[in-house]
């Protein structure tokens, strides 16, 4: 893990990663393509293994959980993947419908509203409404007393959040909404949700990075925005996909020498692959050092998984690292 904070560096004011599993809501975010979904599911497995009743929420209809666990589409249903681990795909339309049903006493009325063309038009035009009902559903999942009929509470809600900009947008929605709408049940709720997600004991965010230039830069900016603009706690930064350092410098020198010789093609290819791996592992460690330099939170490391596709087995491997 990270070296102690230097004198000129702000001290880590972030709780250790172990606390993450004691939260109620954890948002997993980062640049596009860094493995947010993989980390979300691995965290879910790790939490479930600790006996936490956990649900992983997808918010972009990607249906990755169903694919990895070899199931049919999950959709807007709390679906059990294995003991203590659930998944749901939250979309604004279903969230809106559920919200209307909870708000309006007469079902016929919520149906009428939901099907109304002008309503869907206005819902799309209303600043932040779609994000508001999405985060409202996330918050509802984490309530001790669930609002959805017959639903049981979860110990931990893990959100596979959208990439950087949109992820921040989602987390900031309650704050913004509470500011522009001062009255009404949703404004009231927005205030409650904002309090919940900025309560550092109840909620937090996890940033996923890759050991490359751009994801490292973006992770550092993301951390600053999450801490300073959103006001959410950061429970960890994970450098995903780190190659192992398999060879010592002395060995690499020997390998480089041997590559000059005349060998069977497979032998030569194996020597080349070693040089390649070493080069990448080195450049990745430079990026890891940069990330630690640029951020205030502890940076954890997840190994690169040398498998053609990621399945449950590989997720469990990662979960063990978490």
């Amino acid at each position: 893990m990270r070296a102690e904070a230097g004198p000129d560096r702000p001290a880590a004011r972030i709780p250790p990663i172990g606390d993450l599993y004691d939260k109620r809501i954890v948002f997993v975010t980062g640049k596009g393509g860094v493995g947010k979904t993989t980390v979300s599911l691995a965290l879910g497995l790790a939490a479930a293994a600790r006996g936490k009743r956990t649900i992983v929420c997808e918010v972009a209809s990607q249906e990755s959980a169903s694919r990895v666990f070899g199931r049919g589409e999950i959709g807007f249903h709390e679906t059990e993947l294995r003991e203590n681990l659930f998944a749901i795909s939250i979309d604004p339309d279903h969230s809106m419908r559920e919200y209307l049903e909870l708000q309006l006493p007469v079902k016929a009325m919520s149906d009428l509203l939901y099907r109304s063309k002008i309503f869907s038009y206005l819902a799309a035009a209303t600043p932040g409404l779609r994000e508001m009902v999405t985060i409202g559903k996330i918050w509802e999942l984490a309530l001790d007393k669930r609002k959805a009929k017959g639903a049981l509470p979860y110990d931990l809600v893990i959100v596979d959040a959208p990439a950087t900009g949109h992820g921040i947008g989602l987390m900031q929605t309650p704050q913004n909404f509470a500011e522009i709408a001062r009255v009404g049940p949703m404004a009231h709720q927005a205030g409650t949700i904002n309090k919940a997600i900025t309560n550092h004991r109840q909620a937090g965010a996890v940033i996923v990075a890759l050991p490359e230039e751009m994801p490292v830069n973006e992770s550092a900016q993301l951390e600053a925005e999450l801490l300073d603009s959103v006001g959410i706690a950061i429970d960890g930064i994970f450098m995903n996909g780190l190659y192992p350092e398999r060879f010592t410098d002395a060995e690499l020198e020997r390998i480089a020498e041997l590559r000059q010789g005349d060998h069977p093609t497979a032998v030569l290819a194996a020597l080349e692959a070693a040089g390649d791996e070493a080069g990448r592992a080195r450049s990745q460690r430079e990026q890891l050092a940069r990330l630690r330099e640029l951020t205030r939170t502890e940076v954890g490391v997840l190994p690169f998984i040398f498998e053609p596709t990621l399945g449950v087995e590989q997720l469990e491997q990662l979960a063990a690292e978490l």
């Binding site: 640049k31 393509g33 860094v34 972009a60 990607q62 209307l100 708000q103 309006l104 009325m109 509203l113 109304s116 063309k117 002008i118 309503f119 038009y121 206005l122 819902a123 799309a124 035009a125 209303t126 600043p127 932040g128 409404l129 990439a163 522009i180 709408a181 001062r182 009255v183 009404g184 049940p185 949703m186 490359e212 230039e213 751009m214 994801p215 830069n217 398999r246 060879f247 060995e251 020997r254 041997l258 060998h263 093609t265 497979a266 032998v267 290819a269 194996a270 020597l271 080349e272 692959a273 070693a274 390649d276 791996e277 990448r280 450049s283 990026q287 040398f306 498998e307 053609p308 596709t309």
Partner: protein, 375 residues
């Protein structure tokens, strides 16, 4: 299969599309630099450049207008661009939207009413599609100036290919407010709601959200009403430009199963929309050990390595490492073969996974070696 240079021959617009994290920005910059090195005047419009990339192009303040990359950097990278020029800019969707409003607004008062309107701020800042729409808008504006031989557009990352193609249309429709005009009638002072059902919807929405939308919406549409024609006309011309012979779409993706699937999907959507498709660029391809026999099935490899190194432990690690690499290279080769079958005669260009991040012009030219098929 046509080469990239052949694909771009006679084109004035090249749109790089694809999902996030596949190296689209770097590819766009490399294509632009490559064409500049071939004597063209090129501008690359990017969304989110790597800081170090922008720095090394000598463009610390990449903003909403184009800046020229110092030709000296080309010379330093060992290339003579001749007549060629490379320009770059970073798109600011909100600023571009504001510019469009300023340009189309009939007077200052209308302009300010729109810029201050809450609905407008929502649309220009956050409404899905505004970034895509504004990228098109800027592309169109720069293209109209006819200052460049080629414009390369690095599109915003989208999870769903449809978003990108649909967004401008959806946004224009929204601004037109056509569906709303069925329910509301503009009056001298504001808007009158038509029909009892509609007023119920408004009052319920107001009760739930606490927002008086009628006020904001009527303001917005009143202010925009004089500009709708301009927007429509513009959107039509943008669409014509994208579908024209002088444009080409390149899909950028990674070699894993999911990105390859997305590339196939994107290609199909482009074909359905009758948009000109140039080819696919697959980034970060693992090539080490490709085509070699499985070391497990080739027991002599381990013993050969052991004999060679005189170190059983090192030989074991060399073989394990090779096996891991070969598995990835095989996966990538399988995915790319599948992609090529889907693309039939269309170009598929592979760029290997390079050890170092690209952070200067020289790095871009390294990539160009693969993109343009040079030695």
């Amino acid at each position: 299969m046509a080469t990239l240079e052949e694909i771009l021959e006679g084109k004035s617009i090249c749109i790089c599309a694809g999902s996030g994290g596949v190296g689209k920005t770097t590819t766009s910059a490399a294509i632009a630099a490559g064409m500049a090195a071939r004597g063209k005047k090129v501008a690359v419009l990017t969304i989110d450049p790597a800081r170090r990339l922008a720095d090394s192009l000598g463009l610390p303040e990449l903003g909403n207008t184009e800046r020229q990359v110092d030709p000296v950097l080309f010379t330093e990278a060992g290339t003579d661009p001749g007549e060629g020029e490379l320009w770059a800019m970073m798109l600011d969707a909100k600023a571009t939207f504001d510019e469009v409003v300023r340009e189309h607004a009939p007077d200052e008062e209308t302009r300010d009413r729109i810029l201050d309107n809450r609905i407008y701020q929502q649309i220009s800042n956050a409404l899905a599609g505004s970034q895509e729409y504004m990228a098109m808008e800027k592309l169109f504006e720069i293209h109209s100036d006819e200052r460049y031989d080629l414009l390369v557009l690095d599109t915003p990352p989208s999870r769903n290919a449809l978003d990108f193609l649909d967004a401008p249309r959806r946004l224009t429709q929204f601004i037109e407010g056509r569906s709303l005009q069925i329910f509301m009638k503009p009056t001298g002072l504001g808007m009158r709601v038509l029909g009892r059902g509609t007023s119920v919807v408004f009052s319920v929405l107001k009760r739930i959200t606490g927002l008086d939308l009628i006020q904001d919406l009527s303001e917005f549409f009143n202010a925009m009403s004089g500009m709708v024609g301009g927007f429509q006309e513009r959107a039509k011309r943008v669409n014509e430009l994208l579908a024209a012979e002088e444009s080409t779409f390149l899909v950028v993706c990674g070699p894993a199963g999911e990105p390859i699937g997305e590339a196939v999907y994107f290609h199909r959507k482009l074909a359905e929309a009758d948009l000109p498709f140039g080819g696919v660029i697959v980034n970060k391809v693992h090539t080490a050990g490709r085509g070699e026999t499985d070391p497990e099935a080739d027991p002599s490899l381990r013993s050969d390595l052991e004999v060679l190194t005189g170190d059983a432990d090192l030989a074991g690690r060399l073989a394990d490492n090779f096996e891991d690499y070969r598995a990835l290279a095989d996966r990538d080769a399988r995915n790319i073969a599948k992609l090529k079958r889907e693309m039939r005669s269309k170009t598929v260009i592979e760029v290997p996974y390079l050890t170092d991040d690209v952070h200067d012009l020289r790095g871009l030219f390294t990539i160009n070696g693969y993109l343009f098929g040079e030695d």
